[in-house]
């Protein structure tokens, strides 16, 4: 029953890893963290994955604190599901959740958006003019998608003229699936790529290329299409061993690759994409183009004293936090969790799972008058789908070291089991995380 490729070494490694995992799970009882009594006022800016998780975890540690979440959105988007919606594997509704269903009881919810951060005065001001003073601030705003930075691009175009972009949300992902379906039907040139800015889930643009390829093969139409991936620099993925693997996979699947191609303009009518390259501009015609917008910090953070003032994260206004403790480097009562952080890696939902306990530890320690002990190592995770039914569980830290959670899963091997984790288990793990339970 073993596949022809299974070696004795693989079997030994698998058995050893399984035993270690089983013993680990049985022995890991949660240490009951002490509840701290406090009347601290804590404002959490944002009710995305990071904001809801922080609210839940803080209320598990603090008794009597006033925890306020500020976010106008009633809909909570399960963003890891957008890849699956965009490839027609899940319906639009799969990526939609309701904030109210996951907001921790005990947290107050102000359905407005932060318009201004004033860390000197320890207050925020909302877009409706509400002023909220705080003792501690958690910045969990997520990031802003800057579609306007691509000349000619507008979110209303998604689903039309062969334009796809799953990042725009559930409706955009659904429209992207329609664009992909039309491409599978008619064939032609499919353009994929990513921006030169920081971005969330750097694996998603690769996944879209792989899924488009798989859809074409399943329809028996791969010969009528060309898949072209436009990398923004000389790498396909920022972690060297993964980059090498992806290059091999791209070669196996017959993808054409252009390096150092950054999308700057599209002409929807003529279906021409313009790229900035070291040798000047390059124009490519598309039948399908998956647009991934440049990403930056939302304006209220970018325009505040909280943003990095110098260094690689300053230009796009990312939050200036210590990369290990996630505490602001200049305002000790401010913490950052999630995509907003100006740290080298960590813009995935899985990163939130590891960041939140660290931020909570240091925030609660500050309330209790002691020092926190937890640190975040940059953990980032990407179930890199290589076809429907297979994925690689890529996990790494700040230093680009692979850090597998499951010792028996080779991070650079494509497995059905990893696909099962993505397709069946990840959403439930995500919603458990929102409730502070995972």
């Amino acid at each position: 029953m073993l596949s022809p490729g299974g070696s004795l070494l693989d079997r030994r490694r698998f058995l050893a890893g399984s035993l270690a995992a089983a013993l680990g799970a049985l022995s890991s009882l949660p240490a009951q963290a002490e509840m701290v009594k406090s009347k601290a006022r804590i404002v959490i800016a944002g009710a995305g994955a990071a904001g809801l998780t922080m609210a839940a975890r803080l209320l598990m540690r603090l008794s009597g604190a006033d925890v306020v979440v500020v976010d106008s959105r009633s809909e909570h988007i399960y963003q890891p599901g957008l890849t699956l919606v965009g490839a027609g594997i899940k319906p639009l509704s799969y990526a939609r959740l309701a904030t109210a269903d996951y907001l921790a009881s005990g947290a107050r919810w102000i359905k407005e958006d932060v318009a201004e951060f004033d860390p000197v005065a320890n207050k925020i001001v909302t877009d409706k003019g509400t002023s909220l003073a705080y003792d501690f601030l958690v910045v969990a705003t997520g990031l802003a998608l800057d579609y306007a930075a691509i000349e000619g691009m507008d979110t209303s175009l998604i689903g039309r003229e062969g334009i796809a972009s799953i990042y725009g949300g559930p409706e955009a992902a659904d429209a992207s699936w329609r664009a992909l379906s039309a491409f599978v039907e008619k064939g032609g040139v499919g353009l994929f790529g990513r921006p030169a800015t920081e971005m969330k889930c750097a694996g998603a643009p690769l996944k879209q290329a792989f899924l488009a390829d798989d859809r074409l093969r399943r329809a028996g139409r791969r010969g009528r299409a060309e898949i072209v991936y436009n990398a923004h620099n000389q790498m396909l993925f920022g972690v060297p061993p993964v980059d090498a693997k992806v290059r091999a996979l791209f070669a196996r699947q017959d993808f054409k690759v252009n390096f150092s191609h950054v999308l700057t303009k599209i002409d929807p009518g003529g279906r021409i994409a313009t790229f900035e390259t070291p040798r000047g501009t390059a124009e490519l015609r598309w039948d399908l183009i998956h647009v991934v917008p440049p990403m930056r910090a939302p304006a209220p953070v970018r325009n505040s004293a909280l943003a990095w003032r110098s260094g690689p994260f300053a230009a796009d206004g990312w939050l200036e936090v210590d990369k290990a403790t996630l505490q602001h480097r200049r305002f000790a009562n401010v913490f950052g969790v999630g995509d907003i952080n100006g740290v080298p890696k960590g813009k995935t939902a899985a990163s939130v799972k590891w960041q939140a306990p660290v931020a909570v530890d240091h925030l609660v320690a500050a309330i209790a008058g002691r020092r926190g002990t937890e640190t975040y190592n940059g953990y980032t995770s990407c179930p890199l789908i290589t076809r429907i039914g297979q994925a690689m569980l890529v996990e790494f830290d700040y230093d680009g070291r692979l850090t597998p959670s499951f010792p028996f899963i080779d991070p650079l091997d494509e497995h059905w089991v990893v696909w099962i984790i993505k397709e069946k288990m990840l959403k439930a793990t995500y919603t458990a995380m929102l409730q502070g339970l995972a």
């Binding site: 029953m1 596949s3 890991s28 009882l29 039914g389 899963i409 080779d410 497995h415 059905w416 288990m425």
Partner: protein, 117 residues
Amino acid sequence: MKDFTLTSLLAISKGMLGAFFWPAIVLAAIVAVLLVLALLRQRGFRGSAARRSVMAGLVIGMVAALVAPASTKASFSNLHGVLDWSMLVLIALAGFVGGAAAVFAIVGSASLPASRR
């Protein structure tokens, strides 16, 4: 791995099963009670009830393995290496054990006690 505690696993199971979570728990509890009853009535896992449950378990295990890839929108061609095939074997085993236990629980508790045969 250190963060996957019992509480986490329970929360994740609840998320995966959704509205079916509590009915599944109740059903499992009923089957467990019937299983104990059946073991007592049959004085162990024996007799025609045991034979029938093993046969049923084998069928259920095979069906579980056959449909598992498709239930995840995958196919057998997606299975790669020791890990994936071991998962399939585990699914088959779970189907066999669970199926056999459920059938024995029902048949064994409904059959005549071993002492009367």
